[in-house]
Each structure stands twice: as C-alpha cells, then as structure tokens.
Symmetry: C2
Subunit: 136 residues, 2 copies
C-alpha cells in the first residue's frame, strides 16, 4: 500500500501519520471494512486518531478512485481497496461476508438500448446474494 501513498503524494496529498495509518489498515487482508472498523484498527496504531479524520480520509480516497465504496446491506458502507481491478460482490445473507467475484461478460452490454430511457449509462454494480458454505 506504499504504492497508494506514493500515488496520493503524487496527486498533491500531504502525507500525515493519520493518512498513512488509514492506508495501512486498508492494505491488510481484511478487506471490506466499515468506516468504524477502519477507525478501530487505525486507533490501535494511532490512538488519538479521530472518527472525522477517518471519514474524511476514506472519502478522499474514494473520490480519487483509489478505494471503492460498497453498500451491500442498508447499514454502514464498506471500503474496498481493490479499486483498480474491476469486480463485483458476492454476499452471504446469513453472516454478511463479502467476496470479490468476476462474472463473465460485460454486464453493461446486457442493457438494451430501448431499456436505457435516454440515460448515458456508465457504470454497473452487481451484487450476488446467497449463503456461504460455512453458514449452509
């Protein structure tokens, strides 16, 4: 994730200890964290980091396209650092675990012109739902 910090620095970002810690948390193998979870993990390394800073930093990373926002339930948004590799999500309805998946074909191509109602369609999000092996 030092890559990420380098890219952000290249975009004029001031690199602070708070931003570094948030970036490191997202770089772990526990992806799809909520903002609250990111804050909790960041606070393990930098106890005085504030919620507002975590929200700001995540929001900035999202608007720079470095992190994806995912909301698979009606609850808290989750943050997915895998933003540079197009993918969709598979969610377990029982335990809520989220996996990145790669459907075949281009989902955008499945929407015929007469179903676009004059929209300029630019993006598709697909969420598959089911029950994972552990919950079944």
């Amino acid at each position: 994730m030092s890559d990420l910090l380098e890219r952000l620095r290249g975009r004029g970002w001031r690199v602070t200890s708070q931003r570094r810690v948030v970036a490191e948390v997202l770089d772990g193998d526990h992806v799809h964290l909520t903002a609250e979870e990111v804050h909790a993990r960041a606070a393990e390394r930098l106890p005085e980091i504030s919620r507002a800073t975590v929200y700001n930093t995540l929001g900035e990373m999202v608007s720079l396209g470095e992190v994806m926002e995912v909301s698979t339930d009606g609850r808290a948004k989750r943050y997915d650092p895998n933003a540079h590799h197009p993918h969709q999500h598979l969610v377990c309805s029982a335990c809520g675990i989220i996996r990145d998946v790669h459907p075949s074909g281009d989902p955008l191509a499945n929407l015929p012109q007469e179903e676009r109602f004059g929209f300029t369609v630019s993006q598709v999000e697909v969420t598959y739902r089911g029950v994972c092996a552990a919950c079944a």
Copy 2:
C-alpha cells in the same frame, strides 16, 4: 393494490386502517418512495399514523415478498411495490431518479461455478448508473 391487501389477508394479516393506507400509498404511480415519504403520504390520509408503524408495515411487506427494498445510494432505503416482476434498476447519478429496467439474459448465469466459492447463490441485484436525459 386491493390485490395486495387480499393476499396479505390470506396470509393471516389483520387488515388495519394503517396497513390499508400504506398499501394504497405504494400503489400510486410514484414508486420507489423512502419510508419517510411513505409516512408523509400516509399521514395525509391518516394523520395520526406513526413512523414506527410505517417501518413495521414496510418491513413485513418486504419479508412476505410483496415489496422490494432498494438501496441505490447510501441514504434511505426505497420501497418498490413491483416485486412480482423481476427487474433491475437504472439510477441517475445527478438527480437520483430510479427507473425499473429489464436486462437481457439471466444475470445469475454470468457467475461461473469457480467464482461462487461454495456459496448457494440465489439472487442478483444489478444497479446501472448514469445520467438521465433531463440532467445531461
């Protein structure tokens, strides 16, 4: 929507004036309302109806499969009475308007077995995003 009330009665639902009003509101042509909007419209006809009742009634209709819950932004969930006709959603990123759309093919079929990770996949939600003609 008297159909809906009849189906609910058949499932042992007690038909109260509150539930009737909520069902009538969802039957209007202004679909994809938030719970707050449903409450506001219901209160026009039944001023003393409470927020809790609207939330409860919507939740019950969802769990009975009579209404679909849609969350296209990170904000309030929206309620779609068109639950008996499979469809997906097209959302304008500018004004937030939501249209029901019908992609070709079966979106479930696009997820290969090796991308299912042992899940029993039963459902797909597809959200197309773009800019509508009025906002372009």
